[in-house]
Symmetry: C2
Subunit: 115 residues, 2 copies
DNA sequence: CTAAAACTGAAACAATTGTTGAAGTCAAGC
DNA sequence: GCTTGACTTCAACAATTGTTTCAGTTTTAG
């Protein structure tokens, strides 16, 4: 009950088992191993995977998400969540700004060829 | 003088020769062939490649850009440019809206795990 | 005509984000 | 203790967007 298998994390987070293994390989989530070499995750794993999917919606790469989650302790306090929150927000706004810049260029009146 | 080689299109459009060949393979730009099988592009090719790069900034895939450029005749009139313009703009706005939706979710007050 | 520069296709490589399949191992219930 | 479902690793595959390298061909300038 204290720990979760790959399949349980997969179900709880709505991601496939192969993706869960991939995320563990990539360092997004940590696992211990049973004596028989099976992964066991702490109960926060599904939460972290969900955070990862939110970050993917924003457009972060797996490497960026790894770094993001690295700053999130096992039992995050409010400040930890706030930090994560702020980083995701900043990144989203940065990407929105990039798109706005592209839009401005498109609308600049110059021919598209000259951008 | 009426046609351009790969290298000339590359220089005029600021992308590499290998990318130019790739774009031709993928149908973004059209080429005729010399008797010696070398590509020759019409003078609009560099322009189309530039449009493609703008579209990439917006986030369109090569396939989407192919479709976009397919609607652009060899000598586009104002309406053709307007159509292209409108599609790019709409696509940019769509992606901006997606990011705003993600931002709204992040700011919804729910825990990130519950998104 | 010849030498150099640019071109050719084909294939391998690269990073990214996983999925699929095979063969074998572990864990849980009965 | 046996069966069954879930797990393991490893490798191959997939799509995307090109780059690199090879050996060979064409074009162009002189």
């Amino acid at each position: 009950m204290g720990t979760l298998t790959v399949g349980e994390v997969a179900r709880e987070s709505g991601v496939s088992g192969s993706a869960i293994r991939f995320y563990e390989r990539e360092g997004l989530i940590a696992a211990t191993r049973t004596s028989g070499n099976q992964r066991r995750f702490e109960s926060d794993a599904a939460c972290r995977v969900r955070v990862a999917r939110v970050a993917q919606r924003i457009g972060l790469s797996v490497g960026e998400i790894r770094d993001l989650l690295a700053a999130l302790p096992l039992e995050p306090d409010l400040a930890d969540w706030q930090t994560l929150h702020d980083r995701l927000t900043a990144e989203a706004e940065r990407r929105i700004a990039e798109l706005h810049a592209a839009l401005d260029d498109i609308r600049s009146g110059r021919r598209l060829c000259d951008l």
